[in-house]
């Protein structure tokens, strides 16, 4: 066979003086980059297999390893960047669709970084969150346009029957990541953390492992086009049900869990034979219209006796505002919108990097459209797709979101190093893999602790920001775009976002 033109992406530098040939790197790398030769007592590295996950670098006890992006000595060419050349070589060698993992890494504008937050000065004084309570509790679900209150000798209270709500102690939930795409321990970390924090994680579309049924009160279960594991018990144990129409990393296409990942435990969860492809078709074959979506929304409400909110998750695409409006009219209690930077365990790179729109623009348009139509109260908006920090959360809420989903941030907290190779099933950090040798690297108790820490830090920061604005409840920030100003954006961009330029007053 001809030699592959695929040049290594990373350069491995091993400091011979520091290396003690302990072979930690050999044992840690599922990609089999490092190998030990006992004859000359030396560890060698095959760079072409390295994915740059930094596992060996992190665990090397003597700090002997360094892994760097390899500078390829091609003649500089503004059109033909190294990534494009590499992809082209790969396709010429394999004839296949290029797969990737995690969210889009193209340098499209990140609008969060062009939005600045407000603070109080002199008038409307700021609040010190260490001294005064600041409420960031959030309720997701349909809100009533008005409340009827009874006030008599016999009975004083609410006459209106409230729609079911999810109560969150912080407006952040863990995104849909299926057991299958991530390991049992990773999912366990998420759900245990959700329980301790008082928020929710999402099962993704792979069904729910029976081991998680007792924790259903902190799990939103997904009903996707493959309907894997969607049984009455599955709907019964969950806190809410989400119909997955689309995903930001791969709008308009389905998902294929390759047969080699369908292990006995995964097959038990998905209710399909071991080794068979698990195919989620692109559309739901019973949903070809908003009316059909309504049929499924109400089927799920019926099956859960109207006791649980029903969410509809869509990808942020060009006509997202009209689609979200349709979802609300179809009876969704929560509309989840996933932007182009939303993550995935596996997606064709061409789709991930080219289809969809940034979540910031989608959110602004959806919120505005629902307000204009007078139906904003009928559903909560949860956004997803590249939320990195508490300030992104605060900006999202000021743009009109009720809460945010975090996927990549949560995985980073668990140790992910964004190598984007989730689809290979060889995650050295024990997150996106089913290999028992790798999965035990993630201790769910430690994983949970790290997630709880992350959200504790974010909640302190959110309160700090709110206090600075003189706002003592996150309700008052929702859709409050006066608290946002644009920098470095065109007038049109600011207009789509519905925010004024920095420097403009009220």
């Amino acid at each position: 066979m001809a030699k592959s033109l695929l040049f290594p992406e990373f350069k491995i530098e091993r400091d011979a003086e520091r290396c003690i040939s302990c072979q930690v790197c050999v044992r840690q790398c599922a990609n089999e980059v490092h190998s030990y030769d006992p004859e000359d007592d030396t560890v060698y590295s095959a760079e072409e297999h390295c994915v740059g996950c930094q596992r060996c670098v992190t665990l090397c006890p003597t700090g002997a390893l360094e892994i760097r992006k390899r500078e390829i000595g091609f003649r500089p060419n503004a059109n033909w960047d190294v990534a494009s050349i590499r992809n082209l070589y790969k396709q010429a060698e394999t004839g296949g669709v290029l797969l990737t993992g995690m969210g889009c890494d193209k340098p499209y504008p990140i609008y969060w970084d062009h939005l600045l937050l407000n603070a109080s000065q002199v008038t409307n004084p700021s609040i010190d969150p260490l001294r005064e309570p600041i409420e960031i509790r959030t309720f997701l679900g349909k809100k009533e346009p008005f409340l009827e209150v009874a006030w008599s000798e016999e009975f004083a209270g609410l006459k209106t029957r409230l729609a079911p709500q999810l109560e969150l102690s912080i407006p952040v939930l863990f995104s849909a990541m299926s057991y299958g795409s991530i390991s049992y321990n990773a999912f366990r970390s998420l759900v245990e953390a959700a329980k301790e924090i008082g928020t929710f994680c999402n099962s993704g579309e792979g069904g729910l492992h029976p081991g998680f049924y007792p924790l259903g009160d902190w799990i939103i279960v997904q009903v996707a086009s493959g309907r894997f594991g969607v049984t009455p018990e599955y709907l019964e144990v969950a806190a809410a049900v989400e119909i997955k129409i689309g995903q930001g990393a791969k709008p308009g296409i389905g998902g294929h869990l390759p047969g080699e990942k369908v292990s006995p435990e995964i097959s038990r969860t998905r209710r399909i034979p071991v080794g068979s492809d698990a195919i989620s078709p692109a559309p739901h074959h019973d949903i070809y219209s908003i009316e059909d979506l309504e049929r499924l929304v109400f089927a799920l409400k019926e099956a859960t006796r109207y006791e649980k909110p029903i969410s509809v998750k869509i990808a942020a695409v060009h006509n997202v505002a009209a689609i979200a409006s349709g979802a609300v009219r179809a009876g969704a209690d929560i509309v989840a919108i996933d932007g182009i930077r939303g993550g995935t365990g596996a997606a064709p790179q061409v789709i991930r990097d080219n289809v969809g729109i940034p979540i910031e623009l989608a959110l602004a348009q959806v919120d505005e459209r629902l307000r204009k139509e007078g139906i904003r109260h009928r559903a909560s908006i949860v956004i997803a797709g590249g939320i990195r920090s508490s300030s992104d959360v605060v900006k999202a809420i000021a743009l009109g979101a009720d809460a945010v989903y975090i996927g990549t941030s949560a995985l980073l907290a668990l140790g992910c190093h964004l190598c984007q190779k989730c689809y290979t099933g060889k995650c050295n950090w024990g997150i996106a893999t089913q290999d028992p040798y790798l999965t035990k690297r993630l201790n769910p108790q430690m994983g949970k602790r790290r997630l709880v820490n992350l959200l504790r830090a974010w909640s302190l920061e959110i309160k700090e920001i709110l206090g600075g604005m003189g706002i003592n409840a996150i309700e008052s920030l929702r859709g409050n775009r006066e608290q946002l100003r644009a920098v470095g954006l065109t007038k049109e961009e600011a207009q789509v976002l519905g925010v004024k330029m920095a420097g403009e007053g009220w």
Binding site: G96, G259, H285, F298, A303
Partner: protein, 242 residues
Amino acid sequence: MNVLDCRGMHYREINARLEEWWRNGCREALLQGVNGQRYLGRAFSEGYLEIEGTPGDDVGIFLNGATVRIKGNGQDGVGNTMNRGKIIVEGDARDIVGFSMRGGKIWVRGSVGYRVGIHMKSYLDEYPVIIVGGEAGDFLGEYMAGGLIVILGLGSKKPIYGSFIAPGMHGGTIIIRGEVSEKVVSAGVKMSPLEEHEWRGVSAYLEEYSHDLALSLPSFRPSDFVKLFPLTTRPYGRIYAY
């Protein structure tokens, strides 16, 4: 048997009433005057429900062990995402019968519409079966991942199947009476005669079908049928570059 006159009732009231009856120990009910109400018998795990009239979409959705008998025709989504149990339709049924069905049985005496039995799947002893007495429309068994579909085409002279049979099929078996034109069978799906041991399984289901519908079926032989099955359980195994 408890009887409910459903005329003018919303599906929500009907299902709530049934649920209340079931809570109080009732396990058999007759719904009369049903006219388009959806989701009847949804997720019921035991008992027997008889429906007179025409139920709306998604009758027996998420069904989990109960038996539902429809004395008339069914609309779309009969037995949608069904788990266990049995649905007997004495008339025709429309599109997506048994969509993503994981277990249980659906007997239709008459004909069915498009996309019937799509993405049915099986796992260990969960084995869904659909038997259609009449004809089936296009996209029969699309994405099929497990289970059995039988199309009998009783009393029909024209082709008893539509176009695009089983695109994306990667598990399960479809059995159609008579000859099937290669032109309508999707790539990746093979046809072959029925083996003797396979016929024994099918004829047991046919016996149950004819008994439940009080029909006397012609005495079929295995050579009356053609069997369709997927070439691979990995239809997408070779389209990606890793």
